[in-house]
């Protein structure tokens, strides 16, 4: 039975309206980045200090302080953004306790005392700590998934609703059939953001076709294993509700009865925010039975990983949720037919689900207007390594690597030269500096021997030894191999031994030939993605930087000298 009184109390439009009225009262908002990066550089203390300074000045009814998710430019953290009505927004970098107090006393307080129409001039000593919002880092980005992260309190469901949250869910539950939802996502061209790049709409279609006998699951893959990437973590920290909403829409589309979040245990803050968000959903009757007064019933739960890279592979992930060792199994049967506890299950990545509410609200055509012919929408990247502006970025598919590294990233620091960019982490490859005009999309990256991956983008300068880099990645995958299939377990180890030998200057031409031979065998014969892609960093560095390997061989020394 549906209780109309209760439904009114939990009406998302009412809640959003009340929250907007409440927010309207404030003349100033101070957004403080409170994601893992900025927390590590001390944002907790900064937030306390700012709050205290505001109370000291008795302006707490005019100013609100919001602890937000990632603002992007992690290398310059802690970041705070001051927005005062009628004044230009100001973003501060590397805030220290003293500066934090001065921001309140010398910026916020005097600016609030101005008459209408007067423009506040920031004093010079604060100007030094300002990051220009005109930097290409900010202007060249296109934010879809990260739109609200960094601009709202991720722990307040009402603020998410004030930003249009759960309207997409309402739209699908009340005006669309599951088949229409699947069709819309198919039309948008959204592809899996975990790295595989399979059409999300098609995956949903397969999952929806399998009849729900007693149970069907939707699983969110938050096991972001690539060492050097933190897109999913930042989305979960900055806008957890968008992922939950995306999952609920997916559940409705495929007929799932229960949802599971699988998140790395190394991400305590993301887990905490997700837990709070789920609790808030339950309290607001957005999870449970008869959601929004419809027949749709759905619940979610969280399971933590425990430090195993292979668990990002969907069948291994499913075993891990079941509480067992995270070893993969051969497919088919695919999880959409036989997944968690043998029941049909659909596995989607965090960023994929984060895109869903936006597509539903703004339409498939809007989403498809970003990107290239085959890769639609935007992609979030963790831009790190030897780059000036290291941080989290979101760009339309098809943006060139040059634009990302040299414009948004501000190029390589310390007067060094760019040597290559690595994408796809331990499963990916390198793109040399002379191919920087390559547009970022699934197909183009594949053509040069790398992959899109989940969104790690590592900038490498000319001081880096590429064979050593390949060694680093291979060491990682060998360590993380689950040991189930021989090609990966034995092949990986043998490759590593050969590569170490070469890097020590003891390798021969034969060793290099063997390295390539084993790599090809591993790619073809390994059971899961981990083993199949583990040789990629080696093969890709060999393809573009073979001379660096040859220079290290004992029986190739004279030849390499001639080359030079």
């Amino acid at each position: 039975m549906v209780d109309t009184d209760l439904d009114k109390r939990f009406d998302i439009h009412e809640i959003a309206k009340n929250k907007l009225n409440e927010l309207e009262r404030f003349q100033c908002s101070i957004y403080c980045c409170h994601s893992t990066g900025c927390k590590s550089s001390g944002s907790d203390d900064i937030i306390d200090l700012i709050k205290k300074a505001i109370v000291d000045h008795g302006i707490e009814d005019k100013v609100r302080v919001v602890a937000t998710g990632c603002m992007g430019l992690c290398a310059q953290g802690p970041l705070i953004r001051v927005e005062i009505k009628g004044q230009k927004d100001v973003l501060y970098k590397r805030i220290e306790p003293l500066i934090a107090r001065l921001v309140v006393t010398e910026h916020v307080v005097p600016a609030l005392n101005l008459k209408e129409g007067e423009i506040f001039e920031l004093p010079n000593f604060l100007q030094e700590h300002v990051l220009s919002l005109e930097l290409p880092f900010f202007t060249k980005q296109e934010k879809v998934v990260l739109k609200d992260a960094g601009h709202m309190d991720p722990e307040d469901i009402t603020e998410y609703m004030a930003h249009g949250g759960y309207l997409a869910l309402e739209k699908v539950l009340k005006t669309m059939t599951p088949a229409q939802v699947v069709e819309e996502i198919k039309k948008s061209g959204l592809r899996g953001r975990g790295g595989g790049g399979f059409s999300t709409g098609m995956k949903w279609e397969f999952a929806a076709k399998v009849p729900t006998v007693d149970e069907k699951f939707i699983i969110c893959n938050g096991d972001e294993g690539d060492p050097g990437a933190y897109m999913d973590r930042s989305i979960l920290e900055g806008d957890p509700h968008s992922v939950i909403e995306g999952m609920m829409i997916a559940a409705y589309a495929i007929g799932a009865t229960e949802g599971w979040f699988y998140v790395r245990a190394e991400y305590p803050l993301a887990v905490e925010r997700l837990e709070k968000a789920i609790k808030a959903c339950k309290k607001n009757r957005l999870l449970g039975n008869n959601i929004m007064g419809t027949d749709f019933c759905f619940n979610v739960d969280i399971r933590l990983g425990a430090g195993a890279f292979v668990c990002g592979e969907e069948t291994a992930l499913i075993h891990s949720i079941e509480g067992a060792r995270g070893t993969p199994r051969p497919r088919p049967p695919y999880p959409t037919n036989k997944g968690l506890w043998g029941k049909p299950s659909c596995v989607n990545n965090v960023e994929t689900l984060g895109n869903i509410p936006k597509i539903i609200l703004k339409g498939a055509d809007w989403f498809a207007s970003f990107g290239t012919e085959t890769s639609k929408g935007t992609k979030v990247f963790a831009l790190t390594g030897q780059v000036e502006h290291s941080g989290l970025i979101e760009v339309p598919m098809g943006t060139t690597i040059d634009e990302i590294v040299n414009e948004i990233g501000g190029g390589v620091p310390n007067g060094k030269k760019l040597k290559a960019v690595q994408t796809g982490g331990p499963s990916g490859g390198v793109i040399p500096a002379d191919k920087m005009d390559l547009p970022v999309c699934y197909e183009e990256l594949k053509k040069v021997g790398s992959i899109m991956g989940s969104g790690g983008m590592i900038v490498i300068d000319d001081t880096q030894d590429m064979a050593a880099l390949a060694n680093f990645y291979l060491d990682f995958t060998v360590d993380e191999s689950c040991g189930k299939c021989a090609p990966c377990r034995i092949g990986g180890k043998q490759m590593l031994l050969l590569l170490e030998k070469i890097n020590k200057g003891k390798g021969t031409k034969q060793d290099l030939a063997d390295l390539k031979r084993i790599a090809t065998a591993m790619q073809k014969a390994s059971l899961c993605g981990l083993g199949q892609t583990a040789p990629n960093p080696v093969l890709s560095t060999l393809k573009f930087f073979e001379s660096e390997y040859l220079d290290k061989l004992v029986d190739n020394k004279p030849a390499s000298k001639e080359e030079k």
């Binding site: 893992t36 990066g37 927390k39 590590s40 550089s41 430019l73 992690c74 290398a75 310059q76 953290g77 294993g225 690539d226 060492p227 050097g228 990437a229 933190y230 973590r233 245990a265 190394e266 991400y267 399971r303 933590l304 990983g305 425990a306 430090g307 195993a308 890279f309 891990s320 949720i321 079941e322 509480g323 067992a324 060792r325 995270g326 968690l340 506890w341 963790a382 790190t384 390594g385 030897q386 290291s390 941080g391 690595q422 982490g425 790690g456 590592i458 490498i460 880096q464 880099l469 680093f472 990645y473 990682f476 689950c482």
Partner: protein
Amino acid sequence: MDQNSLGAQVAAKWRKKRGSLIMALHEIQGVKGFVPWQDAMDLAEGMGIPLARIYEVLTFYNFFKLDAPGKAVISVCTGTACYLKGNDKVLEEFKKELGIGEGESTPDKMFHLQSVRCVGCCGLAPVCVVNGKTYGRLTPTDVRGILEEWRKKLSEDEELA
């Protein structure tokens, strides 16, 4: 079985939930800092899961520890960004200063040294984390200061206790 042991309590909480073994182990390690043998046995009995299966899971995942670590756990990030910025030298310096290897604790149980895969502060690389406190933009020369800071803190804590 001691009904009040942590293993038994955790088992009672999770036994009826599906796929909860890893969650239960997280809870034990969260309290004790590692998974003691006795708690694992109590958990096995309480949840009706063979001990061999629990051991299998404990040893598969990097996160779980079977021995009590030192009081200050030093996690040196070995993710790609930290690697490129020379964190191997920082790790070496820790090893040298403490006289222990990766995954080991000092004999006085003061420090535990481990390398971890990406703590996700790539913008601050190279990074290490000591008991939840992050140190960024490290150089090998910072190591001694960090160890001094924690030696002082740990001995102060002991005096208070």
